[in-house]
């Protein structure tokens, strides 16, 4: 009892100012909605400390929230195809949301959600990168763009051209996203960093996400991988690449890539009795890239070549759609390449070209080619306008000309990255 009375006596003078101060704070709460209402001269208006009323971080604190970044990529174009209607269009081609954060000191994670042509949002990438190994190794798991060549890891809006080269689209798809794991590491061989990666994925065939394809008369074929697999039925990727300095200002890179699908079925949509299982195919690529920057880093040149070959069961079609008797599989090989050159004369302006040619996987006697010419102007690092023309030629559908104006905006957190 004695101690309680003593405590009350000592606390009373302190309690009254505290109560009145608390009342003042409560009444003046709106002033604190956007930070402290008044600061003394020279003090920061913003504190880096974590603000919580409980003195603890909790599910409601925001300081640990991941970094968010968005991309809006819009296109105005006019196309004059060899077949079909010509005309112009305006489209919000891509909306992309990026989320990045460290999970703990040994791992970080990221998510890329996109909407193409105002379709519903789709998960393009969602992966965890474990970096807790000794040395320079990373183990990535989840869904992500696989490590193949110089362009397949890059998102569409970050390319130098509107689309990927036609050889990549024909052999690998618009995007090469897979769900699986990938191990990659690098080591120095003298002054040359050598990197290699190995990946195992559930499925590397691209789902038809970006713009529905016209159904083929009589039904088309679709490659399907088994939903449950033995170890040797997982799709595999590998890449080996090295970078070396070429003089004071140049960098030269050589790389080799592989994508192998060991087991899949050509499913015939109109009649599943014609399905052909036990299919396999592979795509190989060799790439060479040269980059140069002036003393100031303002003038830049980039040139490169990537040669690809596809082999195995490349395509399938029924021999007679009216009276299907057999699904004929194209077990063959096809080749293609793309080459590009890009010159930047200021930090805001560049222009370039890209040429791509490929033997059609479904008919290696037929070829497809595309020539892209473009000029890019950056208003700032985050806002870009590109004027381009694509001249496409196909043995099957003739030639097509497409003129476009692409307007791309990056906002929020923004990654630079080392893509090699």
């Amino acid at each position: 009892m004695h101690s309680l009375a003593t405590t009350f006596t000592l606390s009373r003078p302190v309690l009254l100012p505290l109560l009145s101060g608390g009342l003042t704070l409560a009444l003046s709460n709106p002033f604190f909605a956007q930070g402290a209402g008044m600061t003394s001269p020279g003090t920061s208006r913003y504190s880096s400390s974590v603000h919580t009323s409980s003195g603890q971080t909790s599910r409601f604190t925001s300081e640990f929230n991941p970094g968010l970044g968005c991309v809006i990529d819009a296109v105005v174009d006019y196309a004059d195809p060899g077949e079909g209607a010509s005309g112009g269009d305006v489209s919000l081609r891509i909306f992309e949301l990026n989320i990045n954060a460290f999970i703990d000191p040994s791992a970080w994670a990221y998510v890329v959600v996109t909407s193409h042509e105002l379709e519903s949002l789709g998960l393009e990438e969602a992966a965890v990168a474990y970096i807790g190994f000794e040395g320079h190794s990373t183990l990535r798991a989840g869904r992500f763009f696989v490590d193949f060549g110089k362009q397949m890891q890059t998102h569409l809006e970050e390319l130098r051209t509107l689309e990927r080269p036609i050889v990549l689209r024909e052999f690998l798809g618009d995007e090469l996203g897979g769900t699986g794991v990938q191990y990659d590491t690098w080591f120095p061989a003298g002054d040359v960093p050598i990197r290699f990666s190995l990946g195992a994925f559930s499925n590397l065939f691209q789902a038809h996400e970006h713009g529905a394809e016209e159904p083929e008369p009589g039904g088309g074929t679709e490659p399907l991988v088994p939903s449950r697999k033995d170890l040797d039925e997982f799709s595999l990727t590998a890449r080996l690449t090295g970078l070396m300095e070429a003089g004071e200002r140049g960098t030269f890179q050589l790389g080799a890539s592989l994508r192998h699908i060991p087991e899949f079925t050509f499913a015939y949509e109109a009649d599943e009795t014609l399905d052909r299982s036990g299919m396999a195919n592979s795509v190989f690529g060799l790439d060479a890239t040269y980059g140069w920057a002036s003393d100031t880093g303002i003038q830049t040149f980039l040139g490169g070549l990537e040669v690809l070959a596809a082999a195995g069961d490349l395509a399938a079609a029924v021999d007679d759609p009216g009276d299907p008797g057999e699904l004929v599989v194209q077990d063959d090989s096809a080749a293609g390449y793309y080459a590009y050159a890009d010159y930047g004369w200021t930090q805001y302006d560049s222009a370039g070209m890209q040429y791509s040619r490929v033997e059609a996987p479904e008919d290696p006697d037929a070829t497809l080619s595309e020539l892209d010419l473009y000029a890019t102007h950056h208003f700032t690092e985050f806002r870009r306008l590109r004027l381009g023309v694509t001249l496409a030629d196909s043995d099957e559908s003739g030639s097509e000309t497409r003129v476009y104006l692409q307007f791309t905006n990056f906002f929020g957190s923004h990654a630079h990255g080392i893509n090699w």
């Binding site: 960093p193 170890l231 080996l240 880093g297 700032t380 690092e381």
Partner: protein, 308 residues
């Protein structure tokens, strides 16, 4: 299956490499993001360090391109020196992530953020790209052009060297003291020049010269970039020409990498002189040390005003 085995065998063969043969004690491997830090680290580290510089003195520090040796050297570095204040944001974070060197990870003994303890100017009141494209949330990072920066950077570098190589602490302290003598002599040379620059008006391209202007009492009457990181439009240039005429500005200060086409245009219209000065060590000829760069900067600017 054969391909699977082949690929993993390839991975294994590359992963298992023989250990490097034992050799004499190696020099401390130092990686510096800019040539200013490399110069000062060399002054203090002497023959006990080997130094790699990532950015050239002539380069736009905000647009440094990745080079293969950057990765190799950073991967094996004992000490990593950066200016900080987001100066090297376009390449350092990803380089450190790729190099995966625990010795120089931020927070590790081998990581030195040389701006730690520096009081920056132009700290944005609000972190938003509405006010600038090239936002440095912690303030202006170009403090290497402050005449007081040499000693400050030397102290940060000394601390880092002693942390990773305590056995050589006395050696580094002796060399730091010797460098202080050089700095003191330089400050004596610069003191009368400061008086000649006080109140002089200049127009700059980028905010590189804010600290130099503050230290010398020069007035930055205008900038080519209407907002930091945003190139000037013809309207901006017209406003700048009017301002230069109205304020009687005679000097346009630029770095080698700035957009000098617009600077030349404005100079032609106003008669102001363009002075292309170094913003980092080795930015122009005869600036191969931090002190030499500051000597050059003072001398060129004073020479301009002396002729008017």
């Amino acid at each position: 299956m054969k391909i699977t085995i082949l690929l993993f065998a390839l991975g294994l063969s590359v992963s298992i490499r023989p250990a490097a043969p034992a050799s004499a004690p190696e020099k401390l491997k130092v990686v510096a993001t800019i040539s200013d830090l490399a110069d000062i680290a060399g002054k203090i580290g002497g023959d006990r360090v080997t130094i790699t510089t990532l950015a050239k003195g002539t380069q736009n520090i905000h647009r440094v391109q990745f080079r293969p040796t950057h990765l190799v050297r950073t991967g094996e570095a004992d000490l990593f020196l950066q200016m900080g204040l987001s100066l090297e944001h376009s390449y350092v974070p990803e380089l450190l992530l790729a190099a995966r060197n625990p010795q120089i990870r931020p927070g590790a003994p081998g990581f030195v953020n040389c701006s730690e303890g520096w009081e920056p100017v132009e700290v944005p009141a609000e972190i938003s790209r509405r006010d600038a494209a090239d936002v440095h949330p912690q303030g202006n990072p170009h403090f290497n052009l402050d005449p007081a920066a040499g000693g400050f950077l030397a102290d940060r570098i000394l601390e880092g060297l002693i942390r990773v190589d305590p056995d050589s602490a006395d050696y580094y302290r002796e060399r730091r003291a010797a460098y202080e003598t050089e700095l003191a002599a330089a400050r004596e040379r610069w003191a009368p020049l400061v008086e000649k620059l006080r109140g002089r008006k200049v127009v700059i391209y980028h905010q590189d010269f804010s600290y130099f202007a503050r230290a010398t009492g020069m007035t930055i009457a205008g900038t080519f970039e209407p907002k930091i990181g945003v190139p000037p439009t013809p309207t901006d240039l017209a406003r700048l020409i009017e301002l230069i005429r109205r304020e009687g500005v005679t000097l346009l200060l630029t770095a080698k990498w700035s957009n000098n086409r617009s600077v030349h245009f404005v100079a032609e219209k106003t008669g102001a002189e363009i002075l292309e000065v170094p913003v980092m060590v080795e930015g122009v000829a005869h600036t191969d040390s931090w002190i030499a760069m500051m000597d050059f900067l003072f001398a060129e600017i004073v020479k301009h005003f002396a002729a008017r």
